[in-house]
Structures are given as C-alpha cells and as structure tokens.
Amino acid sequence: MKPVRSMLPLYFGPPNKALFGCYHEPPSERSRKCAVLICQPVGHEYINSHRALRQLAARLSDAGFPVLRFDYYGCGDSSGSSEAGRVSQWLENISMAISEVRYRAGLTQVCVVGLRFGGALSAIAGAQRGDIESLVLWDPIVDGKSYLEKLIFLQKEMLRFRPKPKRDRNSQGHIDILGFPLSNFLCSELEKINLLTLADKPAKNVLVIQSDQTTGEDSLNDHLSRIGARLEHQRLEASQIWLPTTDGSLLVPNQVLQSVVSWTSQMHQCQTHCQTH
C-alpha cells in the first residue's frame, strides 16, 4: 500500500459548540505562505458537493497549501441540531475556522474558497474582517431571496415524485427542504443577503467561477470591481454538483478544481522547490 497522505479529522472551537473539520497537511517539500479555508454550502448542497470539496482540499494540499475544510454549526458532523443554523453563527464559525487554520499551519495569510452559500458567507465574512488575502467564489449565492425561492421550488419538485409528508412543517417554525429544516428565522436571514450590497471588498484578490448561468454574474463582477477587489472571472462548463442527481451520483468537476488550484497557486507562490501540477 502507498502511504496515506496526511489528513486529520478534528473538532475545534468551544466544547459546547464544537465544529468538525478536516485538516489537510501539505507535503513538507512544498510550502506556501498561505493557508486555505474551504467554506462548504449548506443543506442538501453540502451533501452533494462533499466529495468534490474533499478532492479540492487534497489537490490544494498537494500543491503546497495547508487546507481546512469544516462544517458549520448545525451542519455535517459539527455539533448542534440542523434547526439551529443561523447566518450570524456561521459567520462566527468562519472566523473561528480561520483562527484554527492559521494556528495549525503557523501562517497568517489565508485564502478562502466558498461554494454556493459558502461563497456568500465567505464574501460577507471577508468584507467584515478585511484580512482575507484571496477569495474564490465558486457559483456563489448572490441574492438570498432568489436562492430561497429556488430551494422551495426544488422541494415542491421533489414532492411530485414521493409521498407527501403527513405534517405541515411550516407550523413548527421551519420548512422542510429535502430533509433539511430551514427555520423561519434562517429564512428571514437568507432573504436579507445580497452580495451586491457589500460595502467593503471581501479580499484583495477575488476569483469568481461561474458554471451556473442563472446567478447574475455581471452585476456581482461589476460590484466587486467597484469596491476595489482585484477580480478575475472564469466561466466554465461544469456540472452543478450541488444539485441532486437522478442516479444519486456525486460529481467532481475536474476543470473547476483545476482552475481553483491553478489560480490560488499563482496568487501564492511556493517558497521551496515547488512544482506545479
């Protein structure tokens, strides 16, 4: 058997609100002065994109980056019930995860990669903090209201092909989106999210990757440029991996992963004997 690359599953943060993460250590012969934090989507999109983001973490780590993937509070393996998710809590979680990856890697520079709602959260966190070196927004949610509408539509579509649940979840303070509860409070938080209202740039350098044609990319690109981010935009033909597939397969969009690794590597050059892949 080949030796297994170093990946450490761990819990971090306060014990009563511990977050689950996977820390990918880079090979010792390659080192970059920047750590990477991966911000995952939420709900069913988190489940569907886990495989791709795990591979992205492995590739970034191969390229010399220490990488932390983590689950927000009430998501994945992290503590908290699924009903407990809050945008404010998740933004705090991102800050906590940034501290964690900095501590583990012994580095201060951080690049954040966010997919879908993870993209929206990382952009907001970056704008609030002002210390993110570079940011990759992979098909980010730009407008929370239309995101919510699409989730509700997806749920309605799904109900066409399965028996309708007995109970009306809305009366219990949350709605059911493909088995994930979306509390009324979280819905109201989602409705307020709009990346076009960010007042400060989320990072010095921003890469926007767009494979979903419906997310109003031009207005986001214009806005990010207007608030002073050095922006690169890539339109890629790739599957929308966050959506459920008919056969239950989990997709890994090689071209997107390659783009993220390549751009991040250009932004943060190697310190020693680094080879590009």
Partner: protein
Amino acid sequence: MKEEAVLFGEKKSLAGVVTDPPTTVGNHLRPAVILLNPGIVHRVGPGRIYVKIARALAAAGFVVLRFDFSGIGDSAVRHDNLQFEKSAIREAQDAMDFLKSTRGIEHFVCLGGCSGALISLETARCDSRAVGAVLINYPVTEDEDGSANADLVNRRAAHYYWNFALFNLKSWHKFFTGRANYRQLMQVLRLEAKRQFTSKSEIPREATEFEVNLRQLTDRGARLTFLCSQGDPLLDELRKAGGSELQHLCALGKVTLDIIPRSDHTFSSLDDHEQLLEVILKRINGITCSGKKIINTPQAASDAEAVSVGDSVGRVLD
C-alpha cells in the same frame, strides 16, 4: 454526549466520528452501533440522518461509530485492489476492532442504508461479534457490480403508480387530459405483465442465497431488522426474495420487517427522519447482549408481529 473525530484501520486511513453516551459507566455491556455508508454518500448521510441516528442512540446509552469506507467521504482510497464488497467488510471489522481497543466493546450492531445494508448483513454473516443488523432499504436486486438493475427506473415507476398515483386525483386528471407519461405507463404495464408471468416459474439465485443467509444468521442468534420505505420499490423485491423464510422468521420474532409509511428511498423529508429514528431506537433497544449470548427480549419478539410507528400504519409482511 461527546463526539470524537477518529482515524483507524490498518493505515489509520478510515475517518469517522464516535458518539459516546453521556455516562461512561457500563457502555461496554451494550453492543456498539456501527453506521455504514449509504451508497457513496459520506457518513453524515442524506439529510444528515446518520448524525441524528448516532446522537439519538448515544442519548439512549449506545456507543456509535459512523465512518467512511475507503474512497468515500473523508477516508483515503485503498491501493490494494481489494474489491469493495470485501474491503468494506474488512473495514467494518476494523471498526469493531477499534471500538474493542478503545471502549472495550465486544458486540456490535451494524446499521446501513441501501448498499450499507448489504455490507451490514454480510459483515454480520462473516463476524459473530455482530449480534444484530439494521438494514434500511436492503437492495436485494443489486447487480454484482453494485449498480441497480437496468429496469430499476421502470420498477420504481411501477411502484409509484400502484402505491400512489392510482389513488391520486391529480394523477388521474393528468391521465385524462393528455399530460401523463403514456410511454412509461406502457413500459411499466409490459414489465409488470412479464414479472407476473416469470415470477411463477423462476426463483432468482440471489433470493435463495438470501434466504439461506437469513436462516444462518438467525440460527446464530443475530437479530435482524429490515426497515423499508413504503415508497421504495425495493420493498417488493425484499418480500419476494425473502419469501416464506422471511415470513417464517418474522413470525418467530427473529427478524423484523418495519415499513416506514409515506417515506421514500433516501428518507428525504423530516417526517421520514422522525419515523425512522423512532423505529431504529425501538429495535436497537431490543437487542441486548450478555457475554456472547444474545437475549431476544420478549418485547422484541412480540414487536415483530405488531409494528406501529407512532400512530402510523406500519405493517409486517401484509
């Protein structure tokens, strides 16, 4: 309750999370529950259901390990060319070894959905430390390569038509207003006619093996629970493959077949989750172990014949 991220296995390459009950005293006397990946979904499970199961069981006093098989989720890929069916069983056994060495537990219940159910049953067959298995939507008809049969789409459609569309006014409205999928309807009718014709003359090889496996396991004293979604075509396949042996074992209380009403294959609604959790807790609470001998509690035996999920319409082999 405490959760710990762990790496275990020969190469420390299998990633998982152990959920320990709030109290540490006497945990080793109960079987630990090992959750096996449902297909290629990582150990969190669809709708985060495995996390819910693990926490609910831990709150009831069980140590629970959810982990990823090699190449799935956070676990590294194997490089030894071992077939998945074999490596998965070996890795489930690694999980048992890990819980024995870290928690002193010697008996286990394997729980898994879909292909995780297949591996759970096979692991229980290969390793007598497994005193029970909870098999969610057990895929009797999977091909050797693990993929579903080619006509699965039609069988699913057939199941949908017979169980839901037939009683749905909207479906009839669509049928009479030219908006139904008539082509699929015809395919389904053809398939059903063919199945009715062949089922009388053919007994699939897998079904025979399946029956033998059930008998062997229950003779050893292992407690088996099949949990099936009412909205899943695999239920019909399971009934056919289990045949009279499954009925007989259910009647004896050695095997339980619980049907979760109004649920689908992946339990994609919160109502499905609640019902599933309720049944899992009930069934696993019914599996106890004392030394190497398993005690089938009288309650567990009687439950096998009269299942109810809250006030819903759970049935056994009706």
